[in-house]
């Protein structure tokens, strides 16, 4: 593979963005009264397909076995980005190791599918041609570039560049329907909340830079090996960096932005707020683990944050009726899993779950998009204002939308961890790591316990979603006000066009077991062989986690092997229980959830434990209070003081004109009098300024200049 290939993979989407944002509207926007054409999305699609094709040709073959990292510049030392003389340099470079390779594959493939899906999905808005169709795809292209940059960076600095550019794209895309207040608020909230994490990450980077003199992962790792950073400062650096990861991956307590981010168009939710950008937090955490920046305390914190978030978010998903919101909370929960994996030192499991999750979660989101698309059209036909995203207005859609249903079902099985799916393999790896950790450290039994509990809950709420959307009778649970019209919409429902269903099928295939582990289920599979924690550097990072990253597939590996066997049985068990309850409550409806829905606990869940209100009060309102107070202080006190001094000066001058006059006449030396003179002189000039005689001003200025030199000279005498 030549450097040019990597650069083209990286920059093709950026070039597409530039072309699209500058010329897209002029070239491809439909004329008045016309429909949007796919051509409006052609350039960005071409850009991402170029990246995908090159990835498939050049990167895919070296993905399946351990391969040396490919670096640019070739010597692997990066190039100076900012040189501050005296050997102080900020160096950056690109690196493709196996982790980057699989992520490159995942990102280009998922992005391509979502570009295609969106080309169909985004054509209309409320029955009219989408006015910003071309711009939407420009943003998608920029996003793709940013994510690729993040994945191929060999250092925290360019990773951070990609990271923040994704934040920008996320902001622009969540607020894409910016006419709506809710979309504006959501975009602002997303940017600000993740930025809290970003600032923490940035301070963490400043610490690493101060102590290690480089932000390249390899240099950081080498510096850690040499013991240049340790103790409390190391813990602090690790936790600060993780703050960034927690913000980006919407982990507790910075989770509140992600559900609101569903205000964005559905393909955006699928791409950015499920498959790729939010996983970047996990990617960062994994890289930090690899570079040995996370010490035991930081890892422990992360593990608990992840495990807690997994259960916490799943519980909120129980009571959501908006299908995108259910998926949003499910995303938070699954990201919690990945954080848990990093926290217990299972690097491979974290990356693995990130990959499989990208496929099935993108598929689920696009599936929900396909459903919403159909519902929108149907409801639009009968002029109903019922919510097209509320699953109570749905039901029985499997007959109308067989392809969407099938792919959605496969992905649900995957996320629930049913055997023969990709999700089973990766979730198993995460849970096995957590269980082994719990067995080694019985004091932390809560970590695996929360992990298994979340698995049970996942199966439950996901099948609640499936049953509510695709099974039962259409519109049966719509509220009375809407029901009549909703029922009339049923004949207008239709399966989505091929440009939308083909991506669904491709992504659903990725949710199956076959691709990830073609051999027997007890083998590590290619992913376990190639994406391992220590592929580049020596074993130092693992020491922090007390062998936590050890290979649980090895029969001679004692507790890890046992944990793996137990996990397989247990995870199938809890998933089955979750499924069963969902079936009884929402499939067969032999049990009723009415009583639960009336309970105070359910109400608390509906209010998402009140964190939105809490943050709104604690941060937004109080910040505004501080700002308004500052503004008032500035106007009244700080500036008031200045004006007070000024007017006192003026009135004093008026009262003592005779004195100043005398001083002017009698004393001309010293800088103090210079001020007095200037004051009078300004007054005079100022009165003339009104007269409009420009030449006079100039005369005054030259005289003034001369006077100034004179004053200086006098001062020296």
């Amino acid at each position: 593979m030549s450097p040019a290939i990597l650069l083209i993979i990286l920059f093709a989407p950026l070039a597409a963005f530039a072309v699209q944002i500058l010329f897209g509207r002029r070239l491809f926007a439909p004329k008045e009264g016309e429909q949007n054409r796919i051509a409006g999305a052609a350039v960005p699609i071409l850009g991402v397909l170029v990246s995908l094709a090159l990835t498939l040709i050049y990167v895919l073959p070296s993905m399946f076995q351990p391969t040396d990292p490919f670096t640019l510049p070739a010597d692997g030392n990066g190039a100076a980005w900012i040189d501050m003389a005296g050997g102080m340099e900020l160096r950056i470079g690109l690196m493709l190791d196996n982790t980057s390779r699989v992520l490159l594959f995942m990102v280009t493939l998922v992005c391509s599918m979502i570009h295609l899906f969106a080309a169909g999905y985004m054509k209309l808005r409320d029955g009219l041609p989408e006015p910003r169709y071309t711009r939407f795809f420009a943003y998608l292209s920029l996003f793709t570039f940013a994510m690729l940059l993040l994945v191929v960076s060999d250092n925290l600095l360019t990773l951070f560049v990609g990271w923040e550019l994704m934040g920008l794209c996320s902001y622009l895309l969540i607020g894409f329907y910016y006419e709506k207040k809710s979309a504006q608020d959501a975009s602002l909230k997303a940017f600000m909340t993740t930025r809290v994490g970003d600032v923490l990450l940035f301070v963490g980077m400043a610490i690493l830079w101060t102590h290690l003199g480089s932000l390249r992962f390899a240099d950081i790792h080498a510096g850690m090996e040499a013991g240049n950073l340790s103790g409390g400062t190391l813990t602090l650096a690790g936790l600060l960096c993780l703050g960034g990861a927690i913000g980006k991956s919407a982990q507790f307590p910075l989770h509140t932005w992600l559900p609101d981010a569903m205000e964005g168009p559905t393909p955006v939710s699928a791409l950015i707020h499920a498959a790729t950008m939010v996983a970047a937090g996990v990617y960062l955490a994994a890289r930090l683990l690899q570079a040995a920046v996370l010490d035991a305390a930081a890892l422990m914190t992360l593990a608990y944050v992840g495990a807690f978030t997994a259960v916490f978010a799943a519980s909120i998903a129980f009571v959501q009726n908006d299908i995108k919101r259910v998926l949003a909370y499910s995303t938070i929960s699954q990201l919690g899993y990945m954080m848990l994996a990093v926290g217990v030192g299972s690097y491979t499991a974290a990356v693995f779950h990130m990959l499989t999750h990208a496929f099935f979660k993108a598929c689920l989101f696009l599936g929900s998009g396909s459903v919403i698309h159909a519902m929108h059209d149907g409801l639009h036909h009968v002029h109903s204002h019922a919510d097209a995203q509320d699953m109570r207005n749905m039901g029985g859609l499997r007959k109308k939308m067989p392809r969407t249903h099938l792919t959605f079902l496969i992905s649900t099985l995957a996320i629930a961890g049913a055997p023969l799916t990709a999700g089973f393999l990766s979730k198993d790896a995460v849970l096995a790591g957590a269980l082994a950790y719990g067995m080694k450290n019985p004091g932390h039994f809560l970590l695996p316990a929360l992990g298994f509990l979340a698995a049970l809950m996942t199966a439950f709420y996901m099948f609640r979603l499936v049953f509510g959307t695709f099974y039962g009778e259409f519109g049966a649970r719509a509220n009375e006000h809407d029901r009549e019209l909703v029922l009339q919409a049923e004949p207008h429902l239709h399966e989505s066009p091929a440009i939308m269903t083909v991506p669904l099928i491709v992504l659903a295939l990725g949710a199956l077991w076959a691709f990830w582990s073609p051999m027997d289920p007890m083998s590590k599979g290619w992913i376990g062989e190639t994406v391992v924690q220590h592929e580049v550097w020596t074993d130092h990072g693992a020491a922090n986690v007390a062998e936590g990253g050890a290979d649980s597939h090895d029969a001679h590996n004692g507790v890890y092997h046992t944990a793996h066997i137990v996990t397989i049985a247990l995870s199938i068990g809890v998933a089955a229980v979750g499924f069963l309850f969902a079936l009884l409550f929402f499939g067969l409806r032999v049990l009723s959830s009415e009583r639960f829905a009336q309970s105070n606990f359910a109400r608390m869940l509906e209010r998402k434990y009140g964190f939105d209100e809490l943050y709104d009060w604690a941060f937004v309102r109080n910040l505004l209070r501080v700002c308004n107070a500052s503004g008032a202080v500035d106007l009244k006190i700080v500036d008031g003081l200045v004006n007070g001094v000024g007017s006192a000066f003026v009135s004093a001058r008026r009262s003592f004109t005779w004195l100043t006059g005398a001083i002017d006449r009698l004393v001309v030396d010293g800088a103090v009098n210079g001020v007095g003179r200037s004051l009078r002189w300004i007054g005079a000039v100022f009165r003339r300024a009104q007269s409009g005689l420009i030449q006079n001003y100039l005369l005054v200025i030259f005289t003034g200049l001369a006077a100034l030199i004179f004053i200086v000279a006098m001062g020296l005498r």
Binding site: W81, I82, M84, A85, G86, M88, F160, V161, W163, E164, L165, Y178, K181, Q184, L188, F191, M192, R195, V196, V199, F202, V203, A206, I207, W209, T210, H211, L623, L624, C627, N628, A629, S630, G631, D634, V638, D639, L641, V642, G646, A671, G674, V675, S678, L679, I682, F686, A689, G692, I694, Y697, L698, I701, G704, L705, I709, V712, A713, G715, L716
Partner: protein, 519 residues
């Protein structure tokens, strides 16, 4: 004649030509004059050897030999980037002033306007090339006069108040500076020969007690110019009243004269001042960042918001200077350039909407007390608020997005590099203050995004539905700045390579490197 003298002489000659030529030629002459200075500054860049720490391309001749006052000019890494910035901002200011007469309702005054403008440009260039303190002071003062007129004659309704406030305030500060210069001169006699030459003074070892006093004297002079809290209140008034191009110059270059002065004098010449002064400076930097950002958030007038954001962003420069690390000083210079470009963009962006809508309220005042406070006609209340500008002015919105996101420190643009280097450089010296400064970044993001939401998003107000989008002349002014912001964000070495050798050569920086060598 040498490049550096031509740099300030050409605008001055241009001023003369403007005065002699018919007024319809004024702007063209100004364009040519600033164009020539841009060319000159590029030639200086070309001739500059970035591996040399000391000043170069200099001229050193006797001027007033009785007092050893010399005409000493030169360029080094501390000043070159700012000279280039000044050249860029100066020519863009001319483009932005193209219809100044009509835009400020003072038709027929173009000749005087451009004469003042060129005098201002001359003063700015002179200040950045001067290495003799008397020369330095003269050019510092020289910028005051034209600025006073440019605000006082071509400004908004309260222009007279704003102009005189600006003038008196700066003059007040420069008195202290003048005293400090003289004291430094006499003090240098004890350590060798009396001199005003900055390079010579920098090489001297002056007693710390004296240096501490001088440090504060210079600080007062520069702090008012930057401006540093609590001397900042002239800035919002000056900006609000100044016409757009003058705001661009004011924020783009004039504020940098304060921070450049701190680097040139307080760091280079008085670097051995006591540690408490540097801590003081760092604290003031953080106060600027937080207080400026908080105040910005409370503003209703977009131009005032941008003015307060300048107060905040200059705080990063102060913090970085106080740190005296290589990252810090390089970062401070970078942040000055970056802020010059970005604040220039911001004020141009404000100007675009003001020229069209004749107001720039983020939220239009509604209740009576506010209407009175902002001097607004009752009949207009409640109708003229913005919102949905993104739909009616898409290109303008795109340019605004670059300016706003660049200012809030989005990576890929210059603002990020400036803030990043500043904070990275400050961490090892002032960790707690650095964390507080980082909080300021958050507030910065909040007020910019909130402004976007309130002005650009949402349904469009029918009142403004037909606003014409940004025009070609406005784009000519804005696009080069946007391009530079992105280029510097992607290739920061273009700027840091200029400054690195000189920064590395600073005595105080060497001390800091030695101090942290074992960390």
């Amino acid at each position: 004649m040498d490049y550096l003298t031509l740099l300030w002489l050409v605008p001055l000659v241009g001023m003369g030509v403007v005065l002699l030529a018919p007024k319809s030629f004024s702007r063209l002459i100004s364009l040519v004059a600033t164009g020539v200075t841009l060319l000159l500054s590029l030639m200086i860049w070309n001739a500059f050897d970035s591996s040399v720490a000391g000043h170069q391309l200099g001229v050193d001749v006797e001027w007033i030999p009785q007092f050893n006052i010399r005409y000493l000019v030169g360029v080094d890494g501390l000043s070159l980037a700012l000279i280039l910035l000044t050249a860029v901002i100066a020519i863009i200011g001319v483009v932005a002033s193209w219809n100044i007469g009509a835009e400020t309702h003072r038709e027929g005054t173009e000749k005087a306007y451009f004469a003042m403008y060129l005098l201002l440009v001359s003063g700015m260039f002179g200040f950045f090339v001067a290495l003799d303190l008397i020369l330095f002071y003269l050019f510092f003062e020289l910028t005051l006069l034209p600025m006073y007129f440019l605000i006082g004659v071509w400004g908004g309704p309260r222009r007279e108040y704003a102009a005189i406030k600006f003038f008196l305030y700066t003059l007040f500060g420069s008195v202290f500076m003048l005293v400090a210069i003289l004291a430094l001169y006499f003090q240098s006699g004890a350590a060798g020969a009396r001199t005003f030459s900055i390079p010579e003074l920098a090489a001297m070892d002056l007693p710390v007690q004296i240096v501490n006093w001088l440090w504060f004297g210079f600080y007062l002079g520069f702090a008012i110019k930057v401006p540093v809290f609590p001397f900042h209140t002239w800035l919002p008034d000056a900006h609000v009243e100044a016409p757009t191009p003058i705001s661009v110059i004011l924020a783009g270059v004039l504020l940098k004269m304060g921070t450049y002065g701190l680097v040139r004098v307080n760091v280079q010449t008085l670097g051995n001042a006591g540690e408490h002064w540097w801590t003081f400076l760092a604290v003031m930097g953080v106060v600027n960042i937080l207080y400026g950002s908080f105040c910005a958030m409370a503003q209703r007038d977009l131009k005032k918001l941008v003015a307060y954001s300048s107060v905040g962003h200059m705080g990063f420069v102060l913090l970085a200077i106080a740190a005296r690390t290589p990252e810090g000083i390089n970062g401070a210079i970078f942040q000055m350039v970056s802020h010059g470009l970005l604040s220039g963009m911001l004020f141009l962006v404000v100007g675009v909407i003001y020229v069209r809508a004749h107001h720039r309220y983020i939220v239009y005042p509604e209740d009576e007390a506010e209407l009175e406070m902002y001097h607004i006609d009752q009949s207009k209340a409640g109708r003229l608020g913005f919102g949905g500008l993104a739909t009616s002015m898409p290109v303008y919105t795109g340019v605004m997005t670059i300016a706003f996101f660049g200012s809030l420190g989005l990576p890929g643009m210059s603002g990020f590099i400036g803030e990043a280097l500043s904070l990275m450089g400050a961490w090892r010296v002032y960790p707690t203050l650095t964390v507080l400064a980082a909080v300021g970044i958050l507030v910065g993001a909040a007020y910019f995004l909130w402004t976007i939401q309130r002005m650009f998003l949402g349904e469009k107000n029918p009142e403004w539905a037909e606003l014409p989008d940004i025009n070609a002349r406005e784009l000519i002014a804005l696009v080069p700045l946007a391009a530079l912001v992105i280029i510097l964000g992607v290739m920061p070495s273009l700027a840091t390579d200029l400054s690195k050798a000189s920064v590395h050569g600073l005595e105080v920086v060497q001390d800091m490197i030695a101090k942290f060598a074992n960390l």
